[in-house]
């Protein structure tokens, strides 16, 4: 029999036992669909988790924080992914944490040491400001996370301007993209309760509040908004940047004594490296010096390895489902061969070779696997797009509500995933059919013919 003739014969055999084939392939369908969907789900999560690191700037950056004499991993800072890609953004760690004398501070000396390292392009200091920073414009106010930076231009930190410019000098401030839209009028509920004015070029006030033994006191500093950042989808959207000079003044007021960066250090450094390939090496050197480092790269690596293991686990769960389906196929084929023993004997009497019988029955099992695989692919494609449509809409809504434009899809299904499941189901079908088919081919024709 030619291959095409064999396939046709198998197809006819499958057709004349529809009911059984449908029931058996249903198991394969569920199994392969669950593998595809689970893997696609993990893939979708991974995509949205790593999406914010696609811009190249953050991939050549290392954030360095004060160390505690080594022994900390590069992820030890505890800062989430959000705090990366923006200098000091979000994490309002104070310069002076009450710790032992062995704390390794980010002083100007350290900055020089790091600058001298191979592959390092630039090192910039960031000073985050403890205490509450409230931005005030007319009757509107909103919280910002305030950072002092020692760069002339924020683009040196990988930030990009939405409007205005990024140059900072004393008395100017650059705002994150979402700052102004988060300003509101306290105790007021009119239609203009939130700010709709563009703050670019406007005079704003920063109110810094500190708690001390003398109670609560507030300091007001005036700034002119010279630029607004473009939307980044991370914490930098809610940040405000001022010059280091202004920051020093504020910190000095908060701490009650003059800041000295030679002895007190900065809250963090943003180190730029020449190539993303060298980021982890440089970060290792800095970690060995005793400081804590965070890189988008190491975070990415951690995220990716986490998702690899997730994929393994989820894939394994799906594989177990498919394994059960494989047992179903093996069972169906065994039953079919028992039922068709006489037919097998007849085929042999009519001149079928053992190889003919073997390929017929393996082919049937593969066919059941294939049908199940096709069904599973269709189910997973349909369910996948449904989940993306429904869940994606929900996610976008959530994202909009929280002020970001991150549009994530729940399911990430590369084209090869269903194809892989299809091939896998078919191969699994043939393997399940192997033993029953071998049993069929070894039947003695005379015994098979006598079988009732």
């Amino acid at each position: 029999m030619s291959f095409i003739e064999l396939v046709k014969f198998i197809y006819e055999n499958i057709k004349r036992q529809k009911g059984r084939v449908v029931l058996t392939s249903l198991g394969v369908m569920i199994g392969s669909a669950s593998i595809v969907l689970l893997l696609a789900l993990v893939g979708g999560l991974q995509k949205s988790a790593t999406a914010q690191f696609t811009n190249n700037a953050s991939l050549t950056e290392i954030e360095v924080n004060a160390g505690f004499g080594g022994g900390f991993s590069s992820m030890g800072g505890g800062g989430g992914p959000e705090s990366m890609g923006s200098p000091g953004g979000g994490s309002s760690s104070t310069v002076r944490t009450s710790s032992e004398s062995e704390e390794l501070l980010l002083t100007n000396d350290v900055m020089d040491q790091i600058s001298a390292l191979e592959h390092v392009v630039s090192v910039n200091a960031n000073q985050s400001i403890s205490g509450n920073s409230t931005l005030v414009y007319q009757k509107y106010q909103g919280r910002v996370s305030l950072t002092g930076v020692d760069v002339e231009d924020l683009s040196d930190l990988g930030l990009t301007a939405g409007e205005g410019e990024l140059g900072l000098s004393s008395g100017t401030i650059v705002l994150g993209a979402s700052v102004s839209e988060n300003m509101y009028r306290p105790n007021y509920s009119g239609s203009d309760a939130t700010l709709s004015t563009d703050l670019l070029g406007k005079q704003v006030k920063l109110e810094i509040t500190k708690m001390s033994s003398g109670g609560r006191s507030t300091k007001t500093v005036r700034f002119r908004v010279v630029g607004v950042l473009s939307e980044a989808g991370d914490q930098s959207d809610y940040a405000a940047y001022i010059s280091m000079t202004d920051a020093d003044n504020i910190v000095s007021w908060v701490n009650g004594e003059r800041v000295n960066h030679n002895t007190d250090g900065y809250s963090s450094f943003t180190v730029r490296v020449d190539d993303s390939d060298n980021v982890l090496d440089v970060a290792d050197v800095i970690t060995d010096m005793g400081y804590q480092t965070q890189t988008a790269q190491s975070f990415l690596e951690n995220v990716n390895s986490l998702f690899s293991s997730l994929q393994l686990v989820f894939g394994g769960v799906g594989a177990i489902t498919l394994l059960v389906a494989a047992l179903g196929i093996a069972n169906t084929m065994t039953m079919a061969i028992m039922e068709r023993t006489k037919e097998i004997g007849l085929l042999k009497a009519l001149g079928a070779t053992n190889k003919n019988i073997l390929s017929l029955f393996i082919g049937e099992a593969a066919g059941i696997g294939l049908i199940g695989g096709v069904g599973g692919c269709l189910i997973s494609l349909a369910l996948g797009s449904l989940l993306n449509a429904v869940g994606g809409a929900y996610l976008t809504e959530q994202a909009t509500a929280s002020g970001t434009t991150m549009t994530s899809s729940i399911i990430y299904m590369p084209f090869y995933l269903p194809l892989f499941a299809l091939a896998f189901s078919t191969i699994m079908g043939s393997i399940s059919g192997l033993f029953p088919a071998m049993k069929a081919q070894s039947l003695q024709p005379v015994i098979a013919l006598k079988y009732e």
Partner: protein
């Protein structure tokens, strides 16, 4: 005349549980001439079917040899046996053994299909064979829609699909009424006249009038 089937000292012993042995064939030697029509007769359990199965390559003997045409049947491997059956033997069974889900036409074409004959060619040949056995207006019927006699005629047509020189029929009339039985025997007669060597197994003494020679069997021996 030359012998097409040569059986020499053929033994078939079944080992049952508890060391009990059943002797189906106790040393059978016989020759069947090319173009002859022979009937194996004898009481139930005398070894007729066993003999026929071994001659047709469906079963293997405990000892002895079988030659059919140029084939040393007892020394063929599985693959060679399959080709031997295709080429040399047409089987007809007491219980017809048609595939219920296939039409008459597909049943007759089945041996050709296993040999790799193209669809058009095999259906055309199957149609002609059904025409020959008088069933040309039943080609698309399924076996269950046909009488026993008609089903056996399909089986006869199927046995002829590869135009084998030897036709082996184990009680082909056993499940049929007298008229249908006579009908099948007449058909086998006609095939014999066209040159097929035919060996049947039968219980029915009335059938002997159709055959050239009767082989009487008893307890695994030819008498």
């Amino acid at each position: 005349m030359t012998s097409i089937i040569r059986v020499n000292e053929l033994r078939k012993i079944y080992d049952m549980d508890d060391n009990v042995q059943v002797t189906a064939l106790a040393g059978v030697s016989l020759e069947i001439e090319e173009g002859s029509f022979v009937a194996a007769m004898g009481p139930s359990g005398s070894g007729k079917s066993t003999l026929m199965h071994i001659v047709g390559g469906l079963d293997r003997p405990t000892s002895g040899s079988v030659n059919v045409g140029s084939y040393d049947v007892t020394n063929l491997d599985e693959q060679q046996l399959a080709f031997f059956r295709r080429k040399m033997i047409g089987f007809i069974f007491q219980s017809f053994n048609l595939i219920a889900t296939m039409t008459a036409l597909e049943n007759v074409a089945l041996p050709l299909r296993l040999c790799g004959v193209s669809r058009d060619e095999r259906l055309e040949r199957a149609y002609r064979l059904l025409e020959e056995v008088g069933l040309k207006d039943r080609v698309y019927h399924k076996p269950t829609q046909l009488s026993g006699g008609q089903q056996q005629r399909i089986a006869v047509a199927r046995a002829l699909a590869n135009d084998p020189p030897v036709i082996l029929a184990d009680e082909p009339t056993g499940n049929l009424d007298t008229t249908s039985g006579e009908n099948i025997m007449a058909m086998l007669n006609a095939l014999n006249e066209k040159g097929h060597t035919i060996m049947i197994v039968t219980h029915d003494p009335r059938m002997t009038k159709h055959v050239h020679r009767v082989i009487q069997m008893l307890d695994g021996y030819v008498q």
